[in-house]
Symmetry: C2
Subunit: 144 residues, 2 copies
DNA sequence: CCAATTTACATGAAAAGTCATGTAATCATG
DNA sequence: CATGATTACATGACTTTTCATGTAAATTGG
């Protein structure tokens, strides 16, 4: 019983991501936001005005998925499209006033959730955890 | 720029999972299997005969999603449904011969991929990585 | 035991995601 | 500086997922 999957790195990562996110994702959905929308808002919170393609990469989704998500978010007044002056093909996405408010609110909630989740961890352990994840990401990320 | 998301645990976990899985998932899809199907086969490799509900939990998906996935996999001859003698509501899922062959083949491929991914890691580091992930999972998992 | 509740899975309509491809703008080269 | 290639996003047909709910089999309590 249970020899492969239980110690398979990709499964441990997927499980860890899934399980640790569950609570917070429920909180987001209860507020009428989808996880994908939250990811866009969180990304734009740090980097407002990213292009569709850049946003797709940051939110771990594909370009057509993101185009359609942005359509919905634009319709709902969370973001707006802005043409790029330098490159006519690019479409930059910026939060609206409402989008910024929502983003700020949930970034704060996310920080609180993370604090709760890592309540048992020492500062050293938290740093170690994140360092280890960043190493994995660097190792696996497409060669930019 | 980049203050929140870049150090946000849930994003690091999602990114790590996404990025480390990308290569192997491409391999799976190239062989005509979906990621969801692979997860089912990998789980049944360890625990053949799980119920629909148990499989949904292991594969991090929802019950209706899994019911429909199993429909397709049954149609494609990878798994079969078996009624539970003790509990008439339960449906157990078992691999077919073809399913087992496929599972075995990709479990081997997954092990190779993991070895490649962690090629730079010492045994101690690998153990540490997995220990840390399991701790997170234990911490976050629904209280069983 | 039997009604009320709960549990396990299925199902149908709607939403979201995916794949292939289209269009338009930019880039590279001769 | 024109043309062929490439890049960025949009779009449409199709597949998969989701949410709410249905059905049937256990379980629970009176």
């Amino acid at each position: 019983m249970g020899s492969f999957v239980d110690d398979y790195l990709l499964y441990l990562l997927a499980s860890a991501s899934h399980d640790t996110s569950a609570e917070f994702h429920a909180e987001i959905k209860a507020a009428g936001l989808s996880v994908a929308e939250w990811r866009v808002l969180a990304t734009l919170h740090d980097r407002n005005g990213l292009s569709i393609g850049e946003l797709a990469a940051f939110t771990l989704s594909q370009q057509p998925t993101l185009t359609k998500l942005i359509n919905r978010m634009e319709r709902d007044g969370l973001v707006k499209r802005i043409g790029d002056d330098a490159d006519g093909r690019k479409v930059r996405v910026a939060v609206t006033e409402r989008g910024r408010t929502t983003a700020t609110r949930f970034v704060a909630a996310a920080r609180r959730h993370e604090d709760g989740l890592l309540g048992d961890y020492t500062e050293v352990e938290k740093a170690q955890l994140k360092r280890i994840l960043k190493r994995l990401i660097r190792r696996a990320e497409p060669p930019a």
